[in-house]
């Protein structure tokens, strides 16, 4: 089977891979885990939005037995890349379990790479020497493998979570990875419509770093500047996708700069100057400062995203709302979806439906249902 795996990578050397997509996210706000049945039905219903060239899932709460260890999902284009990446992993980590991720060999998906997972923790003696926290230590290694080892990609690196993705419709990917055997309290699903062929496995969503996952639908005109800003901060963009840029932006802002999540939304999709100018002085100074300092991270162009990390799921669109996004609440569940129909399919009688306007963020936070925030509608006079 491995012999058949071809090196499928980024073929055309485009600036980036364009794609249009379907997003679906579902979280149980009390942390109860559930199977793939509903999320898979919902994402599959938006088949029009994908073209079978990319599908993926980020599932949170799937490895409760190893919840204190980093769970690495690795994608290898060949055995050689696996060998080289494992050399780094073995040197820098204490690996408690290393196993192949079960996949269906008979599945019709083209040229699947090798998928492997590791449960590990930073090598204690090494991390002591580096004076960094373990997250930073992990990010460094992930970056090192993704950039430095040809054909090897760590596609997820959080704790008690994992990303499964590849070329195919979401239902094919779910089938390929036997996702019906996993349970999680939060599922983020993605179906892709890339404009280049063939899609490549690494380009599928969700994109992940540590426990941050991003699924994204859109096309950023600001990609060039977003990317150069992040590169200045030490990130290397290897996947040629807007989504990667978004994931790094979240990592930088939330983890490294500790910006409150509400304000991160206002960096990615800031209010117009006209709105800022009419704010109270304190707010005005704050929003002006955000745009001055983080203007290079404004995501300009159509996008809708679902961002997840442990205990929290966030939905956001660009400030003009050029891509769709709807949220629904039913009991302990929050759904965020490209289309309302997908939510209605699995939960016809919703308690509440939310249609955020451009730049408004939907946040679902576990265990405190009140924290579900819907910012007030911002009226916008167009000039």
């Amino acid at each position: 089977m491995y012999a058949k795996s071809k090196q499928i990578s980024h073929h055309h050397n485009d600036d980036k891979i364009f794609s249009s997509c379907a997003l679906f996210g579902m979280i149980n706000l009390t942390g109860v885990r559930f199977t793939s049945r509903e999320p898979l039905r919902a994402i599959s219903s938006m088949r029009e939005r994908g073209n079978g060239l990319g599908g993926g899932f980020a599932i949170y709460g799937i490895y409760p037995d190893f919840k204190d260890l980093y769970a690495f999902h690795a994608m290898y284009m060949n055995l050689k890349s696996k060998e080289r990446a494992e050399k780094i992993l073995m040197r820098d980590f204490r690996i408690l379990l290393s196993e192949e991720i079960p996949t269906k060999g008979s599945n019709k998906l083209p040229n699947p790479p090798i998928f492997w997972r590791y449960f590990l923790e930073p090598e204690p003696s090494k991390i002591k020497d580096e004076y960094v926290d373990s997250d930073e230590y992990v990010v460094k290694r992930v970056r090192k493998i993704n950039i430095g080892v040809k054909g090897a990609y760590i596609i997820s690196s959080g704790k008690n979570m994992g990303v499964f993705k590849g070329i195919g419709f979401p239902e094919d990917i779910a089938d390929f990875f036997y996702l019906d055997e996993y349970e999680g309290y939060m599922w983020v699903c993605h179906a892709r419509f890339p404009t280049n062929t063939p899609g490549w496995w690494g380009g599928a969503h969700p994109f992940n770093i540590l426990d941050w996952s991003v699924a994204h639908n859109g096309e950023l005109s600001s990609y060039g500047v977003n990317r150069r800003y992040l590169e200045m901060q030490g990130y290397k963009c290897t996947m040629w996708t807007d989504t990667e840029v978004l994931a790094y932006a979240f990592d930088l802002l939330a983890r490294r700069h500790r910006i409150p999540i509400k304000l991160i939304a206002k960096i990615l999709a800031p209010p117009y100057w006209e709105e800022i100018d009419s704010m109270e002085i304190k707010e005005r100074l704050m929003f002006t400062a955000l745009r001055k300092v983080y203007g290079s991270l404004m995501m300009n162009g159509p996008f809708s995203i679902i961002v997840a990390h442990h205990g929290e799921m966030i939905g956001l669109t660009d400030r003009k709302k050029l891509r769709p996004l709807t949220a629904g609440i039913k009991g302990d569940f929050l759904y965020i979806s490209s289309e309302e129909a997908a939510i209605r399919l699995i939960s016809p009688k919703l308690d509440k439906i939310i249609r955020p306007s451009g730049g408004e963020m939907i946040i679902g936070r576990i265990k405190s249902p009140q924290s579900l925030e819907v910012p007030p509608l911002i009226r916008r006079e167009h000039i």
Binding site: N13, D15, F18, S20, T195, G218, E219, L220, S221, S222, Y223, G224, V225, R227, R228, Y229, E231, M232, Q233, H257, R258, I259, P260, K262, L263, P270, Y272, W273, E274, K282, L285, M286, T288, A289, L290, R291, K292, V293, Y294, G295, S296, M298, N300, G301, P302, R319, K320, L322, R380, H382, I383
Partner: protein, 503 residues
């Protein structure tokens, strides 16, 4: 000495049309036209004509044509008219030749080799008539990171942002000193800056008392001559710019001849009337980067850290390293002036042969500052030969925050780029301090023309941004993915950091 110079231009007059109104005689500041009473005709001394086109535009019956002299030296690829004429002129004068405006030699203009992107299908272009597109630009030092205090649901900003400039357009007016141009020009630019929500740099000759009322929109300059610099002046401006050099004459000081130093100019410059105003080539208190740091902080101390300090340099071979030093020396804004940058007077040989194109300088400085991780902490203004709104957009995509326009603003007022600014006889009333000729420039009219120009460019910038699918200029800054090169070598593309069209 008899001149061996060929007249460069020939002035022709359609005598059948000419009404003998003598307007051309009045308008020409170079003494070309005269009335021949014996014959009752108007005649011209073509050898004096600089092709400023003042008479052509003011002749009420369109009787005048100015054309290149068809008598030329024998064709020679190597010895062009320019070189032969310069030698003849120098053989007669025995001095360095002066010139005005910017380098006019045929070095590659990279703006014309760069093309912009637009959205098709995968994302929608934005229509500036229906949707807001924002071009506001803040210039100044920014912190690397913002810190917040979060208490019960409330978020408060803890980081203090240093004082900066807020321009409603990425276009500012470049330094032109009082003396090089007259008060009418200064007034027109200052008022245009107020109206457009941008800034006018008053140049190195001080600021006339009548203009202090516009000072919220004025950047005051401190150059090696320190003309007109006192505490009041420093505190008047919205920002202070230290001028190390300018694109038209890198490494060269300035010389305003005594004849141009009228009583008014002398008072503003704080020198005796009628004396030459000399700006030394270096600042004599800056012989290295740490000295620059001292001056930056001296100015900040003097103004109690209420204003951003800019440092302007001519774009030269190692601008990238110099710019990085300037950023580290504490400057809040770096101004790069390219080889096409203009002047009121410069040795022609320097103007035409020293410095590098602004496009390459922006690209390498922006890249270097990014490699050092400090690009976002300082602002970068590009200057020198910006001709239209596409040049502005390309400059920003290459990595500038904003641009200065000088020549373009003067052209809007009437300048025809005749390059005779150094004579002090500018027939359009711009580069002259002669009180009579200066009257030709009506500040009310000139200010309107400049405002119109900026307004027009703003609209075009928004059109281009919208076509690229962006509704805010910060997404363009340094976004080289939006540029493609045509007809450039691999090396040029590499320095510019752009891909070849088709890639």
């Amino acid at each position: 000495m008899r001149t061996y110079l060929l007249p460069e231009y020939i002035v022709e007059r359609d005598d059948l049309k000419c009404t003998r109104c003598k307007i051309c005689i009045e308008q020409c500041t170079y003494g070309v036209h005269y009335y021949n009473a014996a014959k009752n005709i108007i005649e011209s001394r073509s050898e004096r004509c600089v092709n400023c086109l003042r008479c052509v535009l003011f002749c009420p019956v369109n009787a005048i044509t100015v054309r290149r002299n068809l008598n030329a030296y024998r064709e020679n690829y190597h010895w062009t008219y320019e070189f032969i004429a310069s030698i003849k002129r120098q053989a007669e004068l025995g001095s360095a030749l002066l010139s005005g405006m910017g380098c006019d030699r045929p070095y590659l203009t990279f703006w014309d080799k760069l093309l912009l992107n637009a959205c098709q299908v995968t994302n929608p272009p934005i229509d500036p008539i229906r949707e807001p597109i924002e071009i506001r630009t803040y210039l100044g030092r920014k912190p690397k990171i913002l810190e917040f205090k979060t208490g019960d649901g409330d978020i408060e900003l803890e980081t203090k942002i240093a004082p900066d400039l807020c321009a409603e357009t990425p276009i500012l007016f470049a330094a032109m000193s009082y003396g090089a141009v007259n008060l009418n020009v200064h007034e027109a630019l200052a008022r245009a800056a107020v109206e457009c929500g941008t800034y006018f740099n008053c140049g190195e000759g001080g600021l006339h008392p009548n203009l202090y009322k516009y000072s919220e929109h004025i950047i005051v300059q401190v150059a090696s001559g320190r003309f007109g610099v006192d505490l009041k002046y420093l505190n008047a401006g919205a920002a202070i710019e230290i001028k190390i050099g300018q694109g038209a004459k890198p490494g060269i000081g300035g010389h305003l001849p005594g004849e141009k130093v009228s009583k008014d100019i002398a008072a503003v410059r704080m020198i005796p009337a009628g004396t030459d105003a000399l700006s030394p080539a270096p600042h004599h208190d800056i012989y290295s980067i740490e000295d620059l740091r001292q001056l930056i902080y001296a100015l900040k101390e003097a103004t109690e850290y209420t204003k951003p300090v800019a440092v302007k340099i001519a774009a030269v071979h190692n601008s990238a390293a110099i710019a990085s030093g300037i950023a580290r020396a504490g400057a809040d804004i770096i101004v790069l002036d390219g080889v096409r940058g203009a002047t009121g007077a410069a040795p022609k040989i320097i103007r035409d042969n020293v410095g590098i194109p602004i496009e390459l300088a922006i690209a390498s400085v922006d890249q270097r500052l990014r490699e050092e991780g400090i690009r976002n902490e300082v602002s970068l203004i590009a200057s020198g030969g910006i001709r239209n709104s596409a040049d502005v957009v390309k400059a920003i995509a290459l990595g500038a925050d904003a641009v200065y326009i000088g020549t373009a603003a003067l052209i809007a007022m009437g300048c025809t780029l005749c390059q005779r600014c150094y004579t002090g006889k500018c027939s359009w009333g711009i580069a002259t301090t002669d009180p009579e000729i200066s009257k030709r420039l009506n500040p009310e009219d000139a200010y309107k023309r400049v405002v119109n120009l900026v307004r027009a460019w703003n609209i075009e910038i928004k059109e281009m941004l919208g076509a690229m699918g962006m509704d805010s200029i910060e997404s363009l800054r340094g976004n080289r993915e939006q540029l493609r090169g045509v007809g450039l070598t691999d090396r040029e593309l590499k320095i510019l950091g752009v891909k070849m069209a088709g890639e």
